[in-house]
Amino acid sequence: MPTQADFDDANLLLSRLRSPAAILPDDLVDMLTVAEDAIARLRGEARVLEFRLQARSLIEVGLEVFGWAIGIIGFLAAAIDVFVIHGELGLFGLIDLASAWLGLILGACMRQRAEWNTEECRYDLMDVRTLLDAYREIIDRINNRLSP
């Protein structure tokens, strides 16, 4: 994900291009090369983000679905135990309720993890967008310097 060094590079390029000082053509070519490398890197970052948002690991999804399923089935099983089979909450009913609640906690933990992952992706995406805006300005300024 974008690092402080990426932001420093963009800041230095922007500060050089924003100042009215003249810039050698060779330097402009090199600036374009730097911008090109950075944009290619940002494209890679955005691709990684797209992948992270699309695909959670099979274990994470499996554990979450398993947790929620155990939770709901556990409560239903306890209800069936009480209303259909025994007429009261026996030992099995207690086990059903305990496992249901533990299942819910497992599901909630995995959901929380997924939300943190989404939140990290959101921040990374904001960084990528900020850097892309900066490089758009850099390219605009290089183009302005090239205009007669």
Binding site: R16, A22, P25, V82, R111, D133, Y135, I139
Partner: protein, 146 residues
């Protein structure tokens, strides 16, 4: 030996490698771009965990009542199917909400990928213009003024 690209980058990004931190300090704070402030990180979802706590209390009430420690009669145990339905509805809502957020972020990521493609095209066009201008001025000491 450092590759040519590294030297090129060093020359334009770090006019003088040792002075890089000084140059960064000169750039006014309002002119700088900064990474997003990520504090506080990893906050717990209040809805998720308060729901888990309420469910735990509900289960404890059912069990204590069934053990005869609470004078609530059959009321708590009768609410068991309702509890299961509530949990199922809550789970469905949380998952649907997260799916919406994820899809929105996914669209944004795809939009940024398209933007990088457009920017890469603009860089290529600028390079072409620069090369042509450079070729015209070859041998002279022309500067590109700001």
């Amino acid at each position: 030996m450092r590759p040519a690209a590294t030297w090129r980058r060093a020359r334009v990004v770090d006019p003088c490698l040792a002075s890089r931190p000084c140059v960064l300090r000169w750039i006014a704070m309002e002119d700088r771009i900064q990474p997003v402030d990520r504090t506080p990180t990893r906050r717990l979802n209040p809805v998720l965990w308060s729901s888990a706590a309420v469910t735990l209390v509900w289960v404890v009430v059912i069990v204590t009542d069934e053990l005869g420690l609470l004078p609530l009669g059959r009321l708590p145990i009768l609410s068991l199917p309702f509890l299961a339905a509530l949990v199922a509805a809550g789970v469905a809502m949380i998952v649907w909400q997260d799916r919406q957020v994820t899809l929105e972020l996914l669209n944004q990521a795809q939009h940024e990928i398209k933007r990088t493609d457009l920017l890469a095209e603009r860089v290529a066009a600028a390079r072409q213009r620069l090369c042509m201008a450079h070729r015209d001025d070859f041998g002279s000491s022309t500067r590109f003024a700001g």
